[in-house]
């Protein structure tokens, strides 16, 4: 192992002296920020992850394809668009502490109440899933049990595009399994439906989307109600990167028609990406795919959706990939997440197995690597070793990684 992260063991936040710090947000309270700054600092700066937190709050920002589009200028000095965006300057440490139990906080992986290897019980329940079907199973269970009355998942469209869709029936969750590697603007859909009839909303969110929801839960700004209290469950997806639609579809069109594609995956530990089509699987070198990564993803420090109630990713097991890919690793982060997982256990919705030795350390290592890479690139982008653009260089997690 190359140095640096090994000593980043799971420690309670209080042990590394996070306390008593003035938040960056507070420092900046005198500055007012709205659409103009969002556009300058995030969208035009290629930091936008396309989460949709700024979209459909008003008529000005919308999502089209996987892009956040500013339709018209807004001259408000302060706006929810800027306040909710996960890529405007944010004191994530303050949010961590406000939303999670401080004793659960870790530097590499965020809050942790438990770590599990699970999958949806019964092969049929995994048939339409990316991996073990855990996400779909948990979300369907939450609906069945009335923990939520609507769930936002990703809905595929033509040409490899996706949008968030709110569903109310468990069966509709299972129909919408599988990972979409192009951004699905989940938060935008939340903004759209939150004013509607649903009272308790659950979402499947990538890490950046979970960050946006976390910022929204902090209610950083007065204004038209954002209905964020309706958000009752965030199931986070582990995430290495997402792809730019235009670049990726241009690449795919060279080897197949977009209509024939049924899914894709990146087997861990390999240098390839698998594209599943109606005519079989196409293997693309990861270097090709890397050219299609959304620029904003290079500046993301979160690989495990640290701001969700429960996070799910693909498992790493000693068995073959064929077997391994039917399992998920899961991090439970909050009370709500814990309740849901226990419910799944008691109702036999999920199958559990032992966590192989070293598995957790592997995950930490990968998480730290993503953080380091992002921090390096942010420094490069700003041209200042201490300017991490949207991140707070005094955030203890960042401080530790930066050394």
């Amino acid at each position: 192992m190359q140095g640096g992260y090994e000593d980043l063991i799971i420690v309670g936040i209080n042990q590394v002296g996070f306390k008593g710090r003035r938040s960056k947000e507070m420092d900046n309270q005198v500055q007012s920020r709205g659409q103009k700054e969002l556009q300058e600092q995030v969208i035009n700066a290629h930091l936008c992850v396309g989460c949709g937190a700024c979209a459909y709050l008003c008529p000005y920002q919308v999502i089209y394809k996987d892009q956040t589009i500013v339709l018209h200028d807004c001259d408000l000095a302060e706006g929810r668009c800027y306040a909710f965006c996960p890529r405007t300057s944010t004191d994530y440490d303050a949010i961590r502490k406000a939303l999670f139990d401080e004793e659960d906080l870790t530097l590499e992986l965020g809050p942790i109440k438990g770590f599990y290897i699970v999958r949806a019980a019964g092969e049929v329940n995994r048939a339409n899933a990316q991996h073990g079907g855990t996400v779909s199973a948990l979300m369907a269970l939450a609906l069945e049990e009335g923990l939520i009355d609507a769930a936002i998942v990703a809905e595929g469209e033509d040409n490899f595009l996706h949008h968030g869709i709110a569903v109310t029936e468990p069966i509709d969750i299972k129909k919408r399994g599988k990972s979409k590697f192009i951004v699905s603007p989940t938060v935008a859909e939340f903004n759209k439906i939150a004013a509607g009839d649903a009272k308790k909303i659950g979402v499947v969110a990538t890490p950046c989307q979970a960050q946006a929801f976390a910022k929204m839960r902090m209610k950083p700004i007065a204004g038209k109600e954002s209905h964020i209290d309706k958000l009752q469950l965030v199931i986070g997806l582990f995430c290495g990167w997402a792809l730019s639609w235009r670049k990726f579809t241009d690449l795919l069109r060279r080897s197949t028609s977009l209509e024939s594609i049924t899914g894709m995956d990146k087997p861990p530990g390999t240098q390839t990406v698998e594209i599943f089509t109606t005519n079989g699987t196409i293997i693309l070198p990861v270097d090709d795919i890397n050219t299609c990564i959304r620029e904003a993803c290079h500046y993301c420090i979160d690989s495990t959706a640290e701001f969700s109630d429960i996070s799910v990713g693909s498992a790493r097991l000693p068995e073959s990939w064929e077997e391994t890919k039917t399992w998920n690793q899961v991090i439970v982060r909050s009370e709500r997440g814990q309740t849901l997982l226990e419910l799944a256990r008691s109702k036999n919705v999920l199958e559990f197995r032992d966590v192989p030795e070293g598995n957790f350390d592997e995950l930490k290592k990968a998480a730290v690597e993503k953080k380091k890479g992002a921090i390096e690139r942010l420094r490069e982008k700003s041209g200042q070793p201490n300017d991490l653009i949207y991140l707070d260089e005094n955030d203890p997690v960042i401080k530790k990684i930066m050394g």
């Binding site: 709050l57 008003c58 000005y60 089209y64 500013v70 339709l71 018209h72 001259d75």
Partner: protein
């Protein structure tokens, strides 16, 4: 009965300049009038169309100015008198035929009236038509008042027949659109016989073939005509002098500037010091007449609008006659005494007099000026140029703007001339990025659309109006389709030449004279050319941008989107609102984050206003045209529309 065809010879009427010109043409006994609408010229053809029945005229709005002149020339070739009317840049369009017509000569009296627009009050250029007539060697007259506008027009036909040449009469906005007293003359009988003769000796001007070849022969003939007309102009009553025998300063002027110069002389009480030579025959200038008046004094001021046309021509004569008249000091545009751009007015002439004659004169006391400025700032509402309430262009450009934003590849729109030119301003969401002559948007787009191999991947759109489509955009579309240029041509079809007052065009089933004629369908033409064609209603704010987005993805060749909706001022729509509109003040969130006044700040339809006290948007019931567009864009559904039964 219209005052335009009053038979009461000697009666006085208050005529607008354009009416005076029309009356002059009627007194000359024209049989045919053609033109293309363009401010400030349009009322001439409109007025003639109204009396077409009574005066046995054929009047048409032609497809463009070149065709208009060709149509008028045919009547002349058939020995009828004909009038052709256009605005300054129309002469550019017609100029190719103009050159050839000057060479071939005419038979029945034919007059071209061009109405120029110094200061570009209703134009996107300050074009000068006068230079064309020197360039193609055609006599040019410029009326200096309303009586002259009538009399000169009539005389122009006689001159045309005497010379067998086209004669041009140039008006300007302040001549065409202002009004003055005109004493009317006799109207001739209306029974005319047309025949085109071509069986005589090939070079016979009245019986041979009509053409500009053999060039050397025809050109020499043309120059003989110019020599002849110069002689005629020496004694022309439209060139007048008023002032002392030995003035300190001689003003040489023409057209509306005659009025400004006279006013400046009176204002400063310079009647005894300044002489005013008013020229009605601007080209070719009569040299003996000029020599006579240039001899009166050594200081000469030339007052005219836009370019130094008169000035240059006067100076040529002064140089040629230097021995006889001595050395002169010239004041005018070349030495900066008179501004070279924008409209003239009496103040400019006053300033020139003060400078040349060393006179102190303050047109406005500084106290008055300050107060006027202050009041101007505080009391006069800031009026930006804007589309009318309920204008389909606002809705069209809303969708075009949004589609371009969504597409997110820095696409842009090339435009041309029409009401929609305003889309380069906030009222059209600053959507137009190039604006040139009619049809040029599509021609330019056709070029942009071929720059892909050089790395240009921006979507290229063009807009043109329905009238513009027939006028000059069709060849550009043919070019784009033929060369597989990746463009989207948007035809803003508002069913008429709205900008200039709803003159019919080939897309409508009615002619200038109100007769039923076949309408020519834009969509069918485009399809026949081979373009993919979509037709949408711009008031459908969902379908229109969706269609555009889809067309932008389709990167193959030229596509046409026709956005069809009647102009808000059209007779049909003026009579009826589609919707009764109302703002639910409870629902309107106004300046709050979540809206920030989208309707009154961005859409900016004059039918909506922002009630600063109540902090809500409101409908101005008088101005609102009931199109319903604002209700579709309100994020809170606070603007409520109720369909009018």
């Amino acid at each position: 009965m219209s005052k335009l065809i009053d038979e009461n010879e000697g009666a006085q009427y208050l005529y607008m300049g354009n009416e005076a010109i029309a009356r002059g043409a009627l007194e000359a006994g024209i049989s045919l009038a053609s033109g293309y609408p363009g401010t400030p010229s349009s009322e001439i053809i409109e007025n003639l169309a109204k009396v077409a029945g009574e005066r046995n005229l054929y009047v048409e709005w032609s497809t463009n100015e070149k065709v208009a002149m060709e149509v008028a020339a045919a009547a002349s070739f058939a020995q009828l008198r004909s009038l052709c009317v256009m605005k300054q840049n129309g002469v550019n369009v017609a100029s190719d035929f103009l050159l050839h017509l000057a060479g071939s000569g005419t038979r029945g009296g034919m007059v071209l009236v061009t109405c120029d627009d110094p200061g570009a009050l209703s134009s996107v250029n300050e074009g000068e038509s006068r230079h064309f007539f020197r360039m193609v060697e055609v006599p040019l007259l410029e009326p200096g008042d309303f009586q002259e506008a009538k009399d000169m027009t009539k005389w122009a036909f006689e001159l045309s027949e005497e010379l067998r040449s086209l004669v041009a009469v140039r008006s300007v906005t302040r001549m065409s659109h202002a009004s003055g007293n005109v004493k009317i003359g006799k109207l001739p009988s209306t029974d005319k016989q047309a025949e085109f003769r071509y069986s005589g000796f090939i070079l016979d001007p009245m019986e041979g073939i009509v053409g500009s070849a053999p060039v050397a022969f025809r050109h020499a003939e043309q120059q003989e005509k110019i020599k002849k007309v110069r002689e005629i102009f020496e004694d022309c009553p439209f060139n007048t002098y008023e002032g002392p025998e030995k003035p300190d300063l001689l003003v040489i002027t023409s057209s509306a500037c005659t009025l400004y110069s006279r006013e400046a002389i009176n204002l400063l009480g310079l009647q005894d010091r300044v002489g005013l030579l008013k020229i009605g025959t601007t080209w070719p200038l009569p040299p003996r007449l000029l020599t006579k008046y240039l001899s009166l004094t050594d200081r000469i001021l030339i007052v005219e609008e836009v370019l130094p046309f008169l000035e240059d021509n006067v100076k040529i004569i002064a140089a040629e006659q230097a021995k006889a008249i001595g050395v002169k000091t010239f004041y005018g545009k070349n030495n900066g005494t008179i501004p070279t751009a924008g409209e003239m007015n009496p103040d400019h002439v006053v300033a020139a007099f003060c400078k040349i004659l060393n006179i102190e004169y303050v047109t406005m006391s500084s106290e008055y000026e300050q107060r006027a400025q202050l009041l101007g700032f505080t009391l006069v509402p800031n009026r930006e140029q804007t589309f009318c309430p309920g204008c389909p262009h606002r809705a069209s450009f809303w969708s075009i703007h949004n589609a371009l934003q969504l597409d997110n590849r820095k696409g842009f729109v090339c435009g041309d001339i029409g009401c929609y030119t305003m889309a380069m301003l906030p009222t059209g969401f600053s959507t137009l990025k190039t604006v040139h002559s009619m049809g040029s948007g599509t021609g330019i787009a056709s070029g942009f659309g071929k720059l892909g191999p050089f790395g240009m991947d921006q979507p290229v759109l063009s807009v043109c109006g329905d009238s513009t489509f027939y006028h000059a955009a069709m060849p550009a579309l043919v070019n784009a389709v033929h060369h597989k240029s990746n463009i989207i041509m948007i035809v803003l079809d508002n069913s008429g030449t709205a900008m200039t007052g709803f003159q019919p065009h080939p897309g409508l089933a009615v002619s200038a004279m109100g007769d039923e004629v076949p309408a020519i369908d834009v969509a069918k033409i485009c399809e026949a050319v081979g373009a993919r064609v979509e037709v949408r209603d711009p008031f459908n704010l969902k379908e229109t941008p969706d269609t555009l987005l889809e067309l932008m993805e389709d990167q193959e060749g030229a596509k046409v989107l026709i956005l069809r909706q009647k102009c808000a001022l059209s007779p049909e729509r003026k009579a009826k609102k589609y919707f009764e509109m109302q703002v639910d003040e409870e629902r309107c969130i106004g300046e709050e984050c979540g809206c920030n006044r989208l309707c009154t700040r961005i859409l900016r339809c004059p039918g909506l206003f922002w009630d600063k006290e109540k902090k809500t948007a409101r409908i101005d019931e008088v101005l609102c045209a009931g199109c319903g567009v604002c209700s579709y864009i309100c994020p809170e559904e606070a603007i409520i529309r109720k369909e009018v039964a």
